[in-house]
Amino acid sequence: MNKKALLIGAGIIAVAAIGAVTYTSAQRKWTINTVVKITGIAWFNRMEQGVKEYAKSSGNNATQTGPAQADAAQQIRVLEDLIAKKPDALAVVPMDPATLEAVFAKAAARGIKIITHEADSQKNTLYDIEAFDNVAFGANLNKRLEKCMGGAGKWTVFVGSLGSKTHNQWADGGIANAAKNTKMQLVDAKQETADDADKAYEKAKEIIAKYPDIKGFQGSASTDVAGIGRAVEEAGLNDKVCVYGTSLPSIAGKYLETGAVDGIGFWDPKDAGIVMNKVAQMVLEGKKITNGMDLGIKGYNKVSVTKGAGAGMIIRGAAFVDVDKSNMKSYPF
């Protein structure tokens, strides 16, 4: 019996200790919870930096959390648990906007303000923040890819998941651009990588095996080009195959150096995180965001505000960056 009590006691102490460490102290002005698609990957770690910066400068209680797996079901659970705590606002990067409509409605009914990012089809949101026009971004990546490929050859595009709205928009933008050029041949489009570098690596290997004359890859999830680059490098095709995609220097850096990846495009998730929280704060203070407004962050100095899918609005910035080997040092993240 003693052993039992000891074990249970140890268990309680362990939980309490961990809880004490992670539980934030006294309540401050507004509580804004940022919920991302999946925690632990470089992209959203960078976003968390922005959230922390915002928390410091504004004095508000801003934190970031997210599911451990890239599964819409898990994100719903995290949101439901947060809603029970009744934060003032939720800033969410949805895994799949459609699946969150009901839970957002529940939050709104409880008086919680909803801000989203990368979800321009979301209905139950007040403002959806987009760093830029997704289709144009995708087309831009594809233009760079096309140029690298010499305007001809087989190419393919990866997405994190077929359900991911923004990834599909980028991919479609790229596909539309390539369609204008008959010498660009699209094969096996929209392979799913679940935002996982290993999966992208496996898929790229398969493509290379299936099409030995493949000339171009376009990635969507931040980890896609890392996986693709690794496969291209292993196959010794650095100079023969062009790889472009959304990613960060910290993820694709080493492949940009060797030439396995030729270029990346991105927007700074840190800034996006700050903007989400700022917009949430403004909403809580009763302010409106209007067309042409300056939100005080680089790339969002003259935002366009258009009607969204539901009653809310879409805030669009102009915050994309083209990065390759030559300028990657300027972006240390």
């Binding site: 809880g19 959390t65 451990a68 719903i76 995290v78 699946t99 009901a102 359900g163």
Partner: protein
């Protein structure tokens, strides 16, 4: 009875988790909304856990890895058919009811057929359950992905269908009531009917069951078919909660459902398992998960705590449920 110690452990664990949660959240955890929220999240996984439990009890290495895929496929087919039939229809209450009823019927039918396929592969073709359901898991996922092309099928807000996932009766969420009803139903079936009697014996020694005149193929077939139906019900709850049907929704649920079953006292070798244990295990895991979210802990911590709880349950109960061979009496 063997499982008494196990049930006792689970009750104590539940009590402790609740206590710790209340303390850490300075009482905020005990808000009725929070309980409602938890009561909404548990059922869809709980139903899958029951489905897996039944297959485990049937023995022969029984398991159903395809529950998520069949759940998704069921509601995808239902959603596509209903949307097609009711396209452009008026939004009257009557149309809403017709849509809802048809949706539920189609989803349950598809799920049952999925389960039937599993049953045929295991009982008639003789495949090992883990292999058969691994195959059907991918098969159903593939069909679902082809049908949807990838993105989710939007259901939208259709009364009274949406209330299955989002509504409540006297403050108790409807998913929870469904889970409760199914739990009671399955529990009665297992303990009070011939089917349950035969299922437990077959799981305990399939050869002896055959010799004793039990139609083992039929019992196996029925078991997997029921599992498919339960999966469909889980899918109905998930899809109405998220107002959409997706081919790859809830892929992370599978291992959690297995965890709930095993922690609830189901012996993976067959012949043992009680619904009460499963329900208590599910509640414990749900509360633990919500507690961690509540205090703002890292989501990875949840996996750690669940693993810890499972190991504690094995170590502290010393239950022979976790052993594969019974010990004969000394002579």
């Amino acid at each position: 009875m063997l499982s008494d110690g196990h049930i006792r452990f689970l009750i104590i664990a539940n009590g402790l988790i609740l206590l710790v949660a209340a303390l850490l959240s300075k009482g905020a955890f005990l808000d009725p909304y929070n309980f409602q929220s938890m009561a909404t999240q548990l059922p869809e996984i709980g139903l899958l856990a029951i489905a897996i439990m039944l297959t485990m009890v049937s023995g022969n290495g029984g398991i159903d890895l395809s529950v998520i895929s069949s759940a998704n496929l069921s509601v995808i087919v239902a959603a596509l058919v209903c949307k097609a039939l009711f396209a452009g229809a008026d939004s009257s209450a009557q149309a809403g009811w017709s849509f809802s009823v048809l949706f539920v019927v189609i989803a349950l039918t598809v799920g049952t057929l999925c389960g039937l396929l599993n049953g045929l592969l295991v009982a008639r073709a003789g495949y090992a359950p883990i292999l058969a359901t691994l195959g059907t898991q991918l098969l159903f996922l593939g069909v679902a992905t082809v049908l949807t092309g990838g993105p989710a099928v939007i259901l939208g807000d259709i009364a009274p269908l949406s209330s299955i996932g989002n509504g409540d009766l006297l403050g108790i969420p409807i998913p929870f009531l469904l889970f409760l009803a199914v739990s009671i139903g399955v529990s009665l079936m297992l303990s009070r009917t011939r089917f349950g009697f035969r299922l437990y014996l077959m799981g305990s020694n399939a050869k002896a069951a055959h010799f004793a005149g039990i139609q083992t193929a039929t019992v196996t077939l029925v078991t997997y078919t029921i599992a498919g139906s339960l999966a469909a019900l889980s899918g109905i709850i998930s899809s109405t909660r998220s107002a959409s049907a997706k081919a790859d929704f809830g892929v992370s649920y599978l291992l959690i459902a297995i965890l709930i079953a095993v922690m609830g006292g189901v012996n993976p070798s067959g012949g043992y398992g009680k619904i009460l244990g499963l329900a208590l295990a599910g509640v414990a895991l749900q509360m633990l998960s919500s507690t961690l979210s509540f205090i703002g802990a890292n989501d990875f911590l949840k996996d750690f705590m669940w693993g810890l709880l499972l190991l504690l349950s094995i170590g502290l109960t010393d239950s022979s449920l976790f052993k594969t061979k019974p010990k004969p009496a000394p002579s």
